[in-house]
Point group: C2
Chain length 405, copies 2
Amino acid sequence: MAVGLGRSLDYKLIAGIRLAAVKSKIRYPDKLDLVLIELTENASVSGVYTQNTFCAAPVALAKAHTQNSIPRYFLINTGNANAGTGESGKVSALRCCQKIADLAGVSVQEVLPFSTGVIGEHLPVKKILAAAPTVFADLSESSWVEAAEGILTTDTRPKLVSVQLEIGGKQVSITGIAKGSGMIKPNMATMLSFIFTDADIESTVLDEFLHDAVEKSFNRITVDGDTSTNDCCMLVATGKSDVSINKLSTHDYCQFKAALESLFITLATELIKDAEGASKFITITVASGASSLECRRVAYSIAESPLVKTALFAEDPNWGRILAAVGRSGLENLDLQSITIDLGSVRIVSGGGVDPSYLEEMGQVAMQKDEIIISVSLNRGNFSESVWTSDLSHEYISINSDYRT
Amino acid sequence: MAVGLGRSLDYKLIAGIRLAAVKSKIRYPDKLDLVLIELTENASVSGVYTQNTFCAAPVALAKAHTQNSIPRYFLINTGNANAGTGESGKVSALRCCQKIADLAGVSVQEVLPFSTGVIGEHLPVKKILAAAPTVFADLSESSWVEAAEGILTTDTRPKLVSVQLEIGGKQVSITGIAKGSGMIKPNMATMLSFIFTDADIESTVLDEFLHDAVEKSFNRITVDGDTSTNDCCMLVATGKSDVSINKLSTHDYCQFKAALESLFITLATELIKDAEGASKFITITVASGASSLECRRVAYSIAESPLVKTALFAEDPNWGRILAAVGRSGLENLDLQSITIDLGSVRIVSGGGVDPSYLEEMGQVAMQKDEIIISVSLNRGNFSESVWTSDLSHEYISINSDYRT
């Protein structure tokens, strides 16, 4: 299941980036499962990683490798997360990186490993080593769709998004891919996402761009409240467009930032539309809060309520469950009387109970849509936040009870 | 679905308590749905209530009524929660209380209302008023099974538990009933539970007993993380056994407290065994923590992970999901290397990864049991906590997508 038909896979090439994807049989016999991405020399690279204490071996290694070197290669496998594998997991990831380093004539620190899939099984190193020469030989500027497909696990469709903008009369492109449809509540990063631009951006500015964009996108989605061990989001600027983005040129900076954040939000919401078992795409907006934090607490309390999510799956306007989720979010001195809750354009709650104008049929119609907006107004401040989530369906249970079999 | 066959419904009468249950057609044509419990004059009564900000009308009224009066009657209906119903909800609850007060010749403040069922629909007051004379006339000392059945909603079986102990050569009895199988993460109280003893206990001591017992039982269970709007737990001491429990007689006090807490834990775990869609009863024990709080955080992070819960449903020893849940619980400076995780008697995680002795077959056998213990040792302190939960099954989705239809 997934919401809507998915986006077209139109995309812009990024000068300075080459990609390849091959079938290395890590878990399934006939799936693109090993992706290599080559970055031009001296690209700026910024990354954010999962805050799960048990971060996977490749995450630990990627963080270590970026301390002293500028990355030249991202090596990404699906089918195996190489998480919960202790010291031997790090050795396995390092061996795969070394193989690519040998083929490319770079140091092992210039190769960053990324893995996604089942936790707790040993990485099939031999299969990856055997496929490495092919994936290296296949590198091309145009293999974006293959790369977007090659990083998927339970996702039903690839996520590949581009934007192009004109800065100082020159074209600048941004293209990103992402994957992830379960164990999704990113905390500083999503399952896996790689975004590239041909703009020239120095590292500290790139770090800020990434932090701000993630905070508005991947850090505002939840499928099941489970933060993965392998979340990574990488932003790369190759500088090949000859357009430099810096804080001195305020207009260009803002224009680029807006385009970048829009692309991040598109990728993040694409993950939710293709969430495990998703039949609905839900936007939860909490407005007029006393702080961003309290808006987020209410929004996540709704977004992570199994009862709200099953009601959404059933297209049942059981708004009492939304009310209960707001009530249990732990906000101090919340005044029931002044809170309103809307389902799309239908006001359902006001004055501490059901709105006098509300009719069950109106709620029913609002719930039958594929994309639903739940709006809560706390009426006690000027902050607002939005969180995106999916419903909870039989298919989610099937996917997650069958995943390893 | 439910775990095991359920307990026998043996119980002890409590002198000073009379009960009745009738079919008033609140939601279904042929279900016991209205329960009246009469307390002897001058019983001690203690109560804890939901911390959901949007507490239901009957909860607000029950709290208000206990401020200045000693309760004589509990009036409990299922099929309708009378929550999210604003001021008119309070008026409805008050009218029902008044009817019982008129029949009994007591003041309206001596009647406490309790409701459970669908949130956001108006209480069918007329049906309750019509059934009131019958339920009042039917009061008897022996209608415990009927009362235990009459408070159920999606529960598949009644929960009725008794203990008897001898204090100073005299018999003391404690008998309790409870209901609740979804929207269960009580916070200071469970969905609905009523516990009675014939001991003589003054109010302040009774409050302490209730607080401590709830903290070890109903406040340690979760089905879906959703704290209800209607949770209430009432403890009543009728004093009819002529046995007085007070802090001066330390031995009797401790003996009674232990018996009471054991009964609370039995009722709470019975709720979990009959949780919506439950096929497994899971005990999560987190030991050797630096504080009770951090043990609870880890335990709830596991207990509320949809991925852990679907793996339990599938009998899949996908321990990586348990590891990930520990890792995302937000504990500072957690040392991976020293943590151990056991599934029953099988050590699965040590030294930051899978235990060297672990074999998939051992995990499989452990997962096939109806009752499973997940033990985590943090190895950094002397605190431990246990939380009880259920798995997440197709039936949970079915129940919660069909509930109102």
